[in-house]
Structures are given as structure tokens and as C-alpha cells.
Symmetry: C2
Subunit: 449 residues, 2 copies
């Protein structure tokens, strides 16, 4: 029997077998109760052991954290907190737990838990978040595969230093800068995006996606930045910015539906313990029509807004802050909104220049509660325009000639987007720190485990 | 309409719309034929265009590789090579193709294709392998998720230099060895395995798996080694080596079934063009009972074998070569076989020491055609034994104290295995070089793109 399975299946059995870890063990002298978690289900099973058992005194001493196997009688308890309990017949210690086990019953701060990242998956909040992480990953794969998208493992190690998104780690086998003698015969980096590589595959398979790790060597100490994180980057050919926004909307809604359906216990936990609003918030997004607004319209609205922003210097050409983004979706639109057609100066080199020559066919999805959740764009498919943009931005083109050449060989219009997986998880659950949704987070000066 | 969809769905339409890339365009003067691939299906659609079309001469000049959109009449051709053709009504150039396009009709060597990795997904062999790669990835996820396994994103950047499997890349933002002033305040590496980290999660969720990139900075120039590759590493708690071998067998069979069912066109292509034996070979494995044999039995069999091995120095304690492994599964067992209980000296520090104190509870799955496909083991769950093993091997223990501590806090018996995803793909298809199954392969002195 596993708790994640169906209770109905085991009901006909007189005895059940279970393995798991003791969450609590309390004993009143004649009767003992163990909360046992078997790893397959968010909730614990209650084990009841009686003083008539020969090993009663032994069982009473099993500590929190210990691994045990148990045989017992399943007893339905429809009036109780649990739908059933298990009356212990036999029990065996599978792995003892030292008395300095940090996860005793009392609560710990999330900060402290980061120092015991090897143990924290056993604590409720993390137990819930990591299972949700797994379920959400599957939602992503199912969404794309069901529509025939091809999953591409874009490379982690890259020779392109101009991928256009922040500082990069170097991957090396040397302890100096003689990169011409390095492992690859030149300097190698950890990727900041799979987009450029996956575009090559969109020109063969039409609809493709990556889902893998990406890296930023930025000295950021915010709750939303990690040096290593997972990204989802779809790319669609014969598609423009409108198609891109439709795909984003479909994906977000699919994923919300999926987690509400497949992780109801976990989502109830987050609603109760982390963010009272999370289920309502994401359900509303799922049921909303995503609105669209140009960046220029947004600037005009912000300029006449009767709100005391921290940054009140609103002008066309600025990068919006989270407070502006949240005002737009929370106060103006009262729901999810795509901002489109940003000034080209504040966006990446590969975004398609609009006919006005000032803006690019980019979109950011803003959602209530956090602001920007997804960034996408139609890509510049015109070789000459791309070439001029790269010159304008002073980019070295040698290592990206292959990327530019995609435009010379049947390069049709195409679009795509990037979704930070960890941030999406934060958004769905209300978890406030990216360090608490990743298994073993990596941030500046922090490389435990 | 997309070719990967159902023909039945579009049959009722008078006109269909299609976008794709021209594979060939030949024109006889009065009638032209275009083989068009739309990215969604292995086979091409045949477009027929007639000289009565106003743009006949224009279409006739569309080159191989160009992206086009087309509107036309669907015509069933049950006697023809294709089940249907499309009689062109309108056609538009979506992306021209320069005349130096390397993928003209003539065949290129795989070696040459590696130099145009950004274009090769459009060539048949690669088009087939990359779609299969995507489908096989999904098979892996479905296999584990259907059984309630939790997917864990183990970290790529690690502080553990003793993960026990080969040379490592360093991840740094410096160009010297002052690692104490480096980004993480100490030396950081690219992971060679997610196993150690995922064990921590098995102690919370019972059944878990990783599926992500791993790295080896080994100066190997063989056809089976890449510096970056994807690995699948499941870990199961309350499980021993027998459970582990059952899981391996189930997974391999599930994946074979999955690709035969979901990629029949691609598998037929591999059978026809790459390895005449591949479908028969993997079907037999799927239908076989995987046998089991101890390493000691294998040594005895090899010693009395009447075969001229290249390496004929067979003794207990040696590492087996591929020729020995292939002899055992191809000649002796005539099917898949698990070799178990290897000498501890030739296996990793975390494998569980058997009662004989000489061997460990490890298993390698050997399959006809390649030899070793999967390596697994029961893990050493006894703190003292693990500690002694690490001392014996002279391992630094400081950075792995957290891993050892898992044994002090409810660390029950557990087991797991590692499967190299790229090699599995080679095995299924008969592709001979790992560089030809990865999107953008990384090997020593090779970092194009």
C-alpha cells in the first residue's frame, strides 16, 4: 500500500503493509499514535499501537525522523480527521534517527531551512513545493507534447558570449585565462538562454520548446534572483506576436488547471499556510481573457495615474518597474494584460523591429500579484535588419554568424517566449523567495551542498 | 492543416492551407512538383502546380530550403506513393533560401553535418533522431510520473568535487585560481551526477528521479563520449538491488514500447537507413526476461570461453571491456542480462558493501549490440560502513558531510541507477556517434555554435 494510491484498492485487505518516516510519535501509556508519512502523499497516515503489543515500549521510543515499516489493520474512521487509521500488528525500524535531528516538531524559519536543504524536503512547505514542482514540470511537457511540439535539449555550455542577457559563468578546466589552451580551445560559458539554439530547430520542426537550466553570474541578492534556474522557451515558426500571445495564454491556463487538478492537497496547503489568496488569484487568471495594451498606451496611463509611485519619473523609453506593472494589471486592467511594442532600446537584439522603426514586436505578460511573468517576442527574420541592429548595439557577430545565417536559409517569421520556471512556481503558490522553491539554490556566496 | 494531424479531419475541406519548407522542387515545363515538409511529420506532402497558374514561373524558381505557405485542393491518391497530394491554388514565399544552402539534395557525411549543426535538423537522419529524442524524453517522464515518482531538478553547479565520476569543469567568474574571492566564495564545479543530491529527496518522497544535463571534462575522443550529456537518475527508498533491477527492466521495456508506438515512421527510417536490425533488436529486448548473473560467475564464464578476446587477461577484480560484456549477453545469455555484485575496488564509494566484504550490491545491465546500457546499485545506508569506505578511498569528506548525514536521519535502504539518455537513443536507433544524436554536441576542442 502507498498513501498516494487509492484507498478503495486496499480496503478489502485485512492487513496492509506500509513504509515511511515518523513525523510524530506520542504515547499515553496504554496507547500510542504515530503520524507516518510514506513519501507518496501529502497527508500522513495515523498508526495506532496498543500496550498489548510485545514491542510497545520499543515502538514508543522510535524518534521523529526514523524510517519504519509496519504491518497493520486498516480501520475506517469516517468521523475522524483522517479517513482511516492503521492498527499496528508489527513494526520494524528501517533507519534510526539521531537525537540531534533538526526537524523536530517545532517550526523553523525558511532562512534556517536553507541551511539544511538536504533535510528540508521532509518539512511540510517544502514537501508541498517540491511535489508541485514535479507536477508543474509535467504540465509543461504535456502541454507542448500534446500539440506536437518537439522538445530540444539546447546546450548548457556555449561559445556565444553575446546571448544578450546578463553576466555569464565561464566553464573551464584551467586556472588562468589561456582559453586557447582550454578544454574547448576557446573560452566557454554557461548558457543564459536556449532561445538562439532552439530557433534553429523551429526552422525544421515548426513548433519546439526547451526546458532546462540557465545561469546568470549576476551579483543579485533579491528574493527573485538565483544564479541557476530552469527556463521554458518555446519557439514557433510561421507565427507572429499575436500567435505568441495566444500560446502564452493557453500555456498559463493549462498549467493552472493542471496543478489545481493534480495537486489539490498541496494547493490547499499553500492557501492555508503561505498565501490565502493563491487559489482565488490563479483561478481568476485561468478564467480571464488576457487583455492587450501597447507600451505607449501604458506610459500614457501611468503618466496620468493618481498614484504615488516610488519612481514617478515616467517617460516614453523607460523600463517599467514592478510597481508600474502591478498598477497596470491590478488597478487598470484588473487582470492579466500583455504589454506590447516596447522601445527597441530597452529590448534584446533579436526582437523584430516594427514599421515605426522605434518599437519592437515584444510582449510582456503582467499578472496581478507579481507583475511580469512571461516575456516574448516575434524574432527579427530579416537578415539586413538584424545585422544592422547588431551593429547598432556593438555586438561581436563572429560567434553568432550561424544564428544570422538561419535568416538566409528559409528563415520565415517566427516568435517565442521565455518563462522562468521557478518564478512561475512562486507565482502559483505565493512562495516569496526563489531559494525556497529550488531543491538546492545557488546564489552569490552561497554554494552549500 | 498540419501533416502531423489527422488526414480525416481535413478531408471534408475543399481547400487546405499549409506552411513548410521546400525539400525538392522539380518542374517538367507544364507541371511542377514540390516536396514540402511542414515540420510536424516525418514525411513530406507533395504539392502539384500547373502551368495555368499565373505564378507558375515564379513557383518553379523557388529553391530547396525556402519557406512557403500554400493554399490548395487536397486530392486523395490511394494508388500513389503518398496518400494524398495538394493541387496548388496559391503560394507565397515566406522566407527565401540563398543559393549556397548546404542542404541540397545530395547526401552529406555525418562528419560534415556536424559543421552545420544549425541546419542539420532539416536533413532526414537528424529530423528523425531529434523527434525521437523528444518522444523518448516524454516516455521517460511518463514512465516515472505515472508511478508517482517526483521529478527533482538537482543542481548543475555543485561544490562537491568528490562526486566520484571523472574530471570536472570549473564554473567561475574569475580568470585565476583565487576561488575564495570567486562568485560563490569557493571553487564551483559542473555536476557529473545528480545522484547524491537526489538521494536526499528519496528520503522524503520515496520514489524520485532526475533528468537533466551532466558534464565530464575528460579528454575522450570516442564516439560514445561527450562533454555534456543528459542523464536519467531515479532513486527509490525502502528498496534493494532486486527492486532496482525490476525498475530498470520496466523502464527499458516501457520506453521501447513507447517509441515503437509513437515514432513508427522514424523507427522505420532507422531500420531502413541506419541499422537494419534495430527494430528487431529492441523488440526482442522488450519481449525478453532480463537474466541475472553475478560478476564472479561472469569471470568464470569468460575464463573458459573459447573466444579470442582482444583483452584475454581475465581475472577476478578486473573491469570488463565492451567485448566481454557483449560476449556475455550476445553469446552466453542471448539477451539482456544484469551483472551483479562487482568487486568493490572497481565501483563507486556509495555502493552498498555485501556481506562478503569484497563485493558491492551493484548491477550493470548488458544488452546485445552495445554491452553496458545502465548502471545501478543499492546505496550504502550504514553510516559507519560508508565512512570507512570513504576513508579507504582517501576521499575528502567535508563537502559531503550532508550526504553522509542522510544516513543518520532516517536513512533507510535505498537504490537507484543512471542511464545516459544520449546512449540510450543511440542504442534504440543504431546511430553510431553520440555527436549525431545531440542537438549541439560538445567534445574536446569542439565548441561550435
Amino acid at each position: 500500500m502507498v498513501l498516494g494510491g487509492s484507498l478503495v484498492e486496499v480496503e478489502s485487505l485485512e492487513y496492509v503493509e506500509l513504509q515511511g518516516w515518523i513525523r510524530t510519535n506520542r504515547c499515553s501509556g496504554k496507547l500510542g499514535f504515530i503520524e507516518l508519512n510514506d513519501g507518496t502523499y501529502f497527508r500522513n497516515a495515523q498508526l495506532v499501537y496498543d500496550h498489548q503489543l510485545a514491542m510497545f515500549d520499543t515502538i514508543a521510543k522510535y524518534p521523529t525522523g526514523a524510517a519504519v515499516s509496519v504491518t497493520g489493520k486498516l480501520k475506517r474512521t469516517p468521523e475522524g480527521k483522517q479517513p482511516f487509521e492503521i492498527i499496528v500488528a508489527e513494526m520494524q525500524l528501517e533507519g534510526d534517527c539521531d537525537r540531534d535531528y533538526p526537524l523536530q516538531k517545532k517550526r523553523h524559519s525558511f532562512e534556517y531551512m536553507r541551511e539544511i536543504a538536504h533535510l528540508r524536503p521532509r518539512a511540510n512547505s517544502f514537501y508541498a513545493i517540491y511535489r508541485l514542482r514535479s507536477i508543474l514540470s509535467m504540465a509543461i511537457h504535456e502541454f507542448f507534447q500534446n500539440q506536437g511540439f518537439v522538445y530540444v535539449h539546447t546546450p548548457i555550455i556555449t561559445g556565444n558570449d553575446g546571448e544578450g542577457a546578463g553576466e555569464m559563468f565561464c566553464a573551464t578546466t584551467r586556472s588562468d585565462d589561456h582559453y586557447e589552451e582550454d578544454f574547448f580551445g576557446k573560452q566557454a560559458f554557461l548558457t543564459v538562454t536556449g532561445q538562439l539554439h532552439v530557433e534553429a530547430f523551429a526552422m525544421a520542426f515548426r513548433d519546439v520548446y526547451t526546458f532546462g537550466p540557465a545561469f546568470r553570474a549576476e551579483n543579485s541578492h533579491t528574493s527573485r534572483h538565483a544564479s541557476e534556474f530552469w527556463m521554458i522557451e518555446p519557439e514557433i515558426a510561421f507565427a507572429d506576436l499575436d500567435d505568441d500571445m495566444e500560446l502564452i495564454e493557453d500555456m498559463i491556463k493549462y498549467c493552472i488547471d493542471y496543478v489545481l487538478e493534480n495537486a489539490p492537497e498541496e494547493m490547499k496547503f499553500f492557501e492555508k499556510m503561505i498565501d490565502k489568496d493563491c487559489i482565488r488569484r490563479i483561478s481568476e487568471v485561468r478564467d480571464s481573457e488576457f487583455k492587450r495594451m501597447t507600451y505607449s498606451e501604458a506610459i500614457a496611463l501611468l503618466q496620468k495615474a493618481d498614484v504615488k509611485f516610488e519612481n514617478r519619473d515616467i517617460y516614453w523609453g523607460m523600463d517599467l518597474n514592478a510597481e508600474h506593472e502591478r498598477y497596470l494589471c491590478e488597478q487598470v486592467v484588473k487582470g492579466p494584460v500583455f504589454l506590447t511594442d516596447y522601445p527597441k532600446e530597452i529590448k534584446a537584439f533579436y526582437m523584430r523591429v516594427n514599421d515605426d522603426q522605434k518599437t519592437v514586436a515584444a510582449c510582456d505578460l503582467l499578472v496581478p500579484g507579481v507583475g511580469e511573468l512571461v516575456g516574448g517576442s516575434q524574432r527579427e527574420e530579416r537578415y539586413d535588419v538584424l545585422n544592422a541592429r547588431m551593429d547598432e548595439m556593438g555586438m561581436g557577430k563572429e560567434s553568432l554568424q550561424w544564428y544570422m545565417d538561419l535568416r538566409r536559409y528559409g528563415g520565415c517569421k517566427h516568435a517565442g517566449f521565455g518563462l522562468g520556471f521557478d518564478r512561475f512556481l512562486m507565482y502559483l503558490t505565493g512562495m516569496q523567495n526563489i531559494r525556497d522553491v529550488q531543491p538546492f539554490p545557488r546564489t552569490p556566496n552561497n554554494l552549500l551542498f
